[in-house]
Symmetry: D2
Subunit: 197 residues, 4 copies
């Protein structure tokens, strides 16, 4: 059997993600993995997520956490996420229509993930919703967003700030030899982590 | 408050990992995160891990999976891992002394992770232990190891082969401006994923 | 003979650069190489450089170009650069004390390279000094500097704007196997290129 | 004027390279730049290059070096390179049909660059052609090629071995914000450098 069975598409979307529906943009497994390990999400964790989008992050968190509430102000996205939730049979994932810059109802949560046009505006409510030691994570494609997000974090009682970029490179292992693939994904977003003091 | 609170050390070891004991080498959160999302490990997953080493991967998997058995042939490593298991209070993690190239007792498992000097020699037993659709993952620092591992995978009924390298870059967000850090971790190991047919 | 003769230090400083004196910061060969090929500097090129610093860029340009004038407002740096110029016996390199944000005397030059705290303030004079089709290059460590530099470029008649980051990875080829080195240089500066219309 | 004038295509091929003809594969400016600075090629350098291919490396070297001889065993490639030589009016570039694994006529050269299917077979002749302190460079897409090349280097009197990968990332600076581009070139080839003892 040939080494060429290598599955190039799985770089972005491993088999178990491919059955999920997707809108224009999704948070990729490379970033979801770092969110899980850098915040220590586990079977006892209570999470809040916004905006839901296609729900890939919410669904992935619900598979490892105790409970996830995911907010979006856009109806069309909640519908895609609803189908993904049903496909994965996740009773511990609640999809809510709502604006987290105005209100987060949940209390004592372990993790708040923010992927919105102005995520920094939700930091005050995220801080209130988190328990001490809980994490907020910003998913921020542009430098200017990171700068604003960190500025706002610094006005609130957060510590252990960390900004990272997660890069996954695809290595081709074939009959003719082994080499990194010529082209690939270079950037999705920066991840900013901070812990409530 | 200054933007300088940025926590450089957390790049490698986020706060919740710092309390864990470590031997000479550990699998880092950047790689553990990708292992979780690329294989879809979740609260229902049964996992087998070898070798245990300091147990960072085993402990991290046990926090999100139903059950983890971790094998090592070296006593001293099992002791470090035992302390980490106790610190995290993980009743669903079993540490076994044993050689997975000779035998894996577990059946119908969802994931087998291999980080050993000759991981490719454990692939036959990994294949037997896995359920259909279950994943094997090799953690392999050198190119030559990847080549051997993929060669052996191709002799067995595995598909959806994927080899990746996960890179995490640290971005400094400070008063004087924002920039990637000058130096950092470039390489730990390649991750090879394959699914039992 | 062993594969271990691999020379790790040469990543940053190849042998022929090691004899050069250096101050606190130098522009590295990885970035100098891209400056040369992305601007097409050649034996007929007239170049202007500021600030001189330790003169590594000025010296490297003088080795391939027809003539280089390098400006710095700081005396101590011109002295280090003077020694490097003598060591390389480069009669076509002129070291001038002067502030390029106030004046660049040269005309019809092919390349202006800027590595100063506020490089964007020298763009007007760079534009005047350049011939049509000539390149300006900014060496800018922080994102905010890139943003300001590009804003100022856009107010002048420049085109073919390009911003890149040049990354060099060190691959270890040793008896025990081949792998990228564990740690290394991740970031020096962004390079912004633009061509006078 | 908008920040959107950013020229994405120039990442691979800056304006002055675009007029050159190209066959199926060319050595890109990112790699040519590193070859120039890591070997110290300058106006006094005598270079030998093989195989010519489209001649991008040969032409680029001829623009900064004293003299370049480029060998190829394939007629069709020499024709493309001939046109590029004429376009750049480079009298100091000689295109020869010939097999460098059999013979390199030049003596006391400063640089031999090798980009062929079995570059390691030309190392003996490269060593003979080089002056003491002169560099050989291998342009090698696959790991296996690097391994063979380094093995052969180690059988000859070479030192200062260095293997690198040069990566260029494209940063988009636009009205909506600044960010690395989503997709891009990840890998062309490894560069192996060694100096004749």
């Amino acid at each position: 059997m040939s080494k060429d069975r290598h599955d190039r598409d799985s770089l972005i979307i491993p088999p178990h993600y491919r059955k999920l529906k997707r809108g224009p943009q999704v948070i990729l497994p490379k970033d979801i993995g770092a969110i899980i390990t850098y915040t220590g999400v586990n079977k006892n964790s209570i999470c809040v997520d916004a905006g839901t989008g296609s729900g890939w992050l919410a669904v992935s968190l619900a598979k490892v956490a105790k409970h996830v509430t995911s907010y979006d102000i856009r109806d069309e996205f909640t519908q895609i996420a609803q189908k993904n939730k049903e496909m994965e049979q996740l009773d511990n994932l609640i999809l809510k229509k709502g604006d987290v810059t105005k209100k987060i109802s949940e209390k004592d949560v372990d993790l708040v993930t923010l992927d919105m046009p102005s995520s920094e505006k939700a930091l005050k409510n995220a801080h209130k919703a988190l328990k001490t030691g809980g994490y907020v994570v910003g998913y921020l494609p542009h430098f200017e967003q990171v700068s604003k997000f960190v500025d706002n974090l610094n006005k609130l009682k957060f510590n252990n700030l960390l900004t990272i970029e997660v890069i996954v490179r695809d290595i081709l292992v074939r009959e003719q030899g082994m080499r990194p693939s010529t082209k690939g994904i270079w950037h999705t977003a920066y991840l900013v982590f901070a812990q409530k003091q």
